[in-house]
């Protein structure tokens, strides 16, 4: 005979506004096997938990049902409380009468009745619950940081400075990310490179950090504390140990007209190249797609000139297998592709550029040495139009979100332009100016008031070229929507920040969820902003949503703390809600027939083969066995098992049937 306690929570008014909680406690208190029932305004509060603990002791409860919110947030809370009162935590279950009942139904007797049913179902389940013990798993105290932009750099340094090993993987030949492309940064106008490059060097020199550039993560297996990762180190066609970074090869390479990605196509680079002068590591790679040797089979100029004979044309990609305990995703963002704006002629007119291209023009190390010159003819633009919200906040374009950084960098662009072209006239077309942030609003005011930027509230409908000028047509909505036409020399589009290409594949590789825009999803938008739904994998920077530098850095440090906290334990405890293959006495051993359908469907590679041998050492039966460390308790194997040999702790077939039967037999 069970002695179950039922605790009905009002959740302030969230539940009690539509459900009569007292009545739920009363009717469920009369159920067979229920020893005690009560209701309380905030069950998760300290007095609420104390109430639960006292009741467990006083009534000698052997099972608990908390009727409250979704188990997502507070199941750990109540299980912990139970444990403190001496009850096995896995004998505590939550019945969700908030999301599943009070929030979705009007105030009505039927709503209360449904809440009662939901509790009754859970009471029946708890009767079948078994006391379980947490699983202990070891922790590999090495972190993997994917992405070497400012977010990845910050996260890696923070973790490394806590004394833990870090492996950083960067897709490009150099770390630095988008921040290394920027000219100056808002709102202080300090030079982006100047504040970033010391950090890049620190990463390269840190004894705890192993850096793999020109590399990509191919496979992520395992689980929190024990990830197994395959990294593809793409061939740089170079022996990095021999190369001294003298740069002779890059000056002698006969291929000189390859659009430079770092300069956003505004400059050229050779086939063997270092992305930018401050690159880390400052050693070149050969771009095989454009290298004359790989295309035509001869050239090898770089090999001839190399003083240390470091060029390796036959070098192959290397696959590294690493074991890490935590992963930080910091893969950043991308800007929109040119074909997105046929109406703005982006991609068609040379002088319609995006914000990142303008950064390169304004950068002292850029293709124009920091002089603002338009790409088509190299002339200084005297009239320039900045278009904010180019793509962002535009449901018709499929991007409904605000890219967040554009208001500020557009203000910065206008200011930089004015600082460099004193007789120039900058215009900014904007929808709203979103300058929330320390010193941000003041910065925008400065652009408008001190630098005389013309802010026009309205959208640009079309841009076309006429007699060497770009005609920008828009409306001024603060002047009653009057049409405006500006004959501009250059146009800069503040294009929407979008998820990096490959983000979706990486999310699937690492088993983290992502949103409709392919940005990685955090576990909770407010309270778990750097965690993902996959334990042990954290987020930093703009791979999650458009973020500016301070925000990316803050998120990265947040993620680093989470990793450090994880590494502060020598072993982790996991919920024991894992699958189990039943065992029976010989000669049956198990109802498992060894078909291994479960093995083929298990997303976590958690099913192993177990051989039963007789005394002579001969294999007499092969069974499936679940690796408790790997199993995530998804239940796919249970659904597929033909002989019902597999079950899940806490969600056994019998428990689920019991729940259904409880609903059917009122």
């Amino acid at each position: 005979m069970s002695r179950i306690g039922v605790f009905v929570c009002h959740c302030g008014e969230n539940i009690s506004a539509t459900v009569n909680c007292e009545k739920v406690a009363k009717i469920t208190g009369e159920l067979k096997g229920v020893e005690f029932s009560t209701d309380y305004k905030y069950m998760c509060s300290d007095p609420g938990q104390t109430l639960l603990k006292e009741a467990i002791k006083e009534h000698k409860l052997d099972g608990v049902v908390v009727a409250a919110c979704s188990p997502r947030m507070h199941e750990p809370t109540f299980r912990k409380a139970c444990a403190e009162a001496g009850l096995n935590p896995f004998l505590c279950e939550m019945s969700n009468i908030r999301e599943h009942c009070s929030w979705v139904h009007p105030k009505d007797d039927l709503t209360t009745e449904k809440a009662g049913d939901l509790v009754r179902v859970m009471v029946e389940k708890v009767k079948k619950n078994k006391a379980l013990n947490s699983i202990k798993v070891p922790v590999t105290k090495t972190a993997l940081v994917i992405g070497g932009g400012i977010a990845g750099i910050q996260a890696a340094l923070d973790i490394a400075n806590c004394g833990h090993k870090v492996i950083m993987v960067e897709k490009q030949p150099s770390i630095g990310g988008h921040m290394s492309q920027l000219s100056e940064t808002f709102p202080t106008l300090d030079c982006s490179q100047c504040i970033l490059t010391p950090r890049m060097v620190e990463v390269a020199q840190h004894p705890n950090i192993t850096l793999h550039t020109y590399s990509e993560v191919e496979v992520v297996d395992g689980f929190i504390g024990n990830f197994k990762v395959k990294i593809r180190k793409k061939s740089k066609s170079l022996d990095e140990h021999l190369c001294t970074g003298c740069g002779l090869c890059t000056t002698k390479c006969p291929q000189k007209k390859i659009p430079n990605e770092f300069e956003r196509g505004l400059g050229f680079r050779p086939a063997i190249y270092v992305p930018f002068p401050q690159a880390v590591p400052n050693k070149p790679v050969i771009d095989r797609e454009n290298c004359t040797y790989y295309i035509k089979g001869k050239c090898k100029v770089c090999e001839i000139v190399c003083p240390t004979k470091a060029i390796r044309f036959d070098q192959e990609d290397e696959i590294l297998d690493v074991e890490v305990g935590a992963i930080v995703l910091a893969t950043g963002f991308d800007v929109l592709k040119p074909d997105f704006f046929p109406e703005y002629g982006y991609g068609k007119y040379k002088d319609v550029i995006d914000g990142l291209q303008f950064e390169r023009l304004a950068s002292a190390s850029g293709p124009t040495q920091g002089e603002i010159r338009r790409p088509s003819d190299g002339k200084e633009p005297k009239k320039i139009v900045f278009v904010a919200c180019a793509g962002s906040r535009d449901p018709a374009k499929g991007i409904e979100y605000c890219s967040k950084i554009c208001c500020m960098y557009t203000a910065k662009h206008a200011m930089l332009y004015k600082h460099k072209v004193h007789d120039g006239t900058p215009y900014v077309f904007y929808m709203d100016i979103r300058a929330g942030g320390k010193m941000y609003e003041e910065f925008v005011r400065r652009t408008i008031v001190e630098d005389g930027t013309h802010y026009v509230r309205g959208r640009v409908s079309t841009i076309y070229e006429k007699n060497g000028k770009l005609i920008v047509r828009g409306a001024d909505t603060l002047m009653g929507g009057i049409p405006i036409e500006i004959e501009a020399d250059m146009v800069v589009l503040a294009t929407a920040g979008v998820a990096n290409k490959g983000a979706e594949e990486l999310a699937q590789t690492a088993h983290v969820s992502y949103d409709a825009y392919k940005f990685f999803a955090e576990a909770h938008p407010k309270l778990k902003p750097v965690e993902t739904n996959t334990a042990g994998i954290f987020l930093a920077g703009a791979c999650q949503a458009p973020k500016d530098i301070p925000e990316s850095v803050a998120a990265a440090s947040g993620a680093a703390v989470k990793v450090a906290a994880l590494f502060s334990n020598d072993e982790l405890t996991r919920d024991p809600l894992v699958a189990l293959v039943n065992r029976q006495p010989a000669p049956v051993f198990s109802s498992c027939v060894g078909c291994f359908l479960c093995q083929s469907v298990c997303p976590y590679q958690a099913i192993e083969r177990e051989e039963i041998k007789n005394r002579n050492g001969e294999v007499i039966k092969t069974l499936a066995r679940v690796n408790e460390g790997l199993c995530q308790g998804c239940g796919t194997c249970v659904a597929l098992c033909r002989t019902k040999a597999i079950d899940i702790h806490g969600y056994s077939n019998q428990q689920v049937y019991t729940e259904i039967m409880a609903l059917l037999n009122e």
Binding site: P342, E343, Y464, E465, K466
Partner: protein
């Protein structure tokens, strides 16, 4: 090949040459255009400003009649008619009870199974594949393709081409041997029905369109809408007065351009019916017989040898 044909009012009146050229072109490609029997007005701009049910019922009746005849595709050369028919089809598809109500008003069965094709979609579906092989007189002119508004908007319903910078007519003109120029006024408003009440507005709006085309050295403007045509063609005196210029380049329908390219004569295509005289110079490319093809082959063989 049989395709339903909905002429609407303009094909029978001001845009007779549009129908003549579409019919002539279809004939070249062995397509039989079947005029929908007992067709009625599409409702034009008037109906949907006055009475919602009327504006739905008129196009619905046209489509229902086509269904009754077993017609699966209707070509609607007039862009305004095409717009009305497409939008009504879309609205009735989205709201089944409305669809029933409309069926009871028109007293015909309406399933919404017919495909509504504008002239470009019609050409793309039935002609484009065979177009290049039939071109005997390449239309070797600098051509400004003018799409106007009704073919491309609202994009969410019509899903035609790239709404801000449509390309499909340009592609057709290129296939006919023409030089489709890049210009800025492809989808700007011509003034539409203001032609009568506010001729000055039309002169200004259509004037800007013509000015940009001429500034970019267009020798001809190609349209796919009788309304656009009448504004750019018939209102030329007012346009020229507004611009204080003398623009005399002709406005042709896309069907006329393709018709010329496949060797149809001016009269069959109704070129004589335009207000602005069509006086296109003969270009050398048009005089070269089709035999230019084998010549090229000889050349390449030589090169290989």
């Amino acid at each position: 090949m049989k395709v339903g044909f909905y002429p609407g009012c303009s094909m029978k009146g001001g845009a007779r040459e549009y129908q003549e050229s579409v019919s002539a072109l279809a004939k070249v490609f062995d397509i039989e255009l079947v005029e929908i029997p007992d067709w009625n007005c599409c409702g034009a701009t008037a109906a949907h400003n006055l009475n919602k049910e009327l504006s739905l019922s008129l196009p619905a009746r046209i489509m229902a009649l086509a269904e009754r005849e077993g017609i699966s595709d209707i070509v609607v050369p007039c862009a305004a008619c095409y717009n009305r028919l497409s939008i009504v089809k879309h609205e009735l598809e989205a709201d089944k009870s409305l669809s029933k109500r409309v069926a009871s008003i028109i007293d015909l069965k309406y399933e919404g199974t017919t495909q509504i094709l504008n002239i470009i979609q019609f050409i793309d579906k039935y002609i484009t594949d065979r177009l290049e092989e039939k071109v005997v007189k390449p239309f070797d002119y600098k051509t400004a393709c003018y799409y106007g508004c009704l073919l491309v908007r609202p994009h969410s319903i019509l899903k035609f081409d790239r709404v801000e910078d449509p390309q499909s007519m340009d592609v057709l003109v290129k296939k006919a041997g023409g030089d489709a120029i890049d210009w800025a006024y492809k989808t700007e408003c011509c003034g539409a029905g203001m032609s009568v009440s506010r001729t000055d507005t039309v002169a200004r709006l259509s004037g800007n369109i013509m000015k940009d085309a001429v500034d970019r050295a267009a020798e001809v403007v190609v349209v796919a809408c009788p309304m656009c045509h009448s504004n750019l063609d018939m209102r030329r005196p007012e346009i020229n007065k507004f611009l204080n210029e003398k623009i005399d380049i002709p406005i042709l329908y896309i069907s006329q351009v393709l018709g010329l390219a496949v060797g149809l004569d001016a009269k069959t295509l109704g070129l004589n019916r335009h207000m602005t005289e069509v006086n296109l110079p003969v270009k050398p490319a048009m005089e070269v017989p089709v035999a230019s093809e084998p010549k090229k082959v000889v050349n390449t063989q030589k090169l290989e040898a």
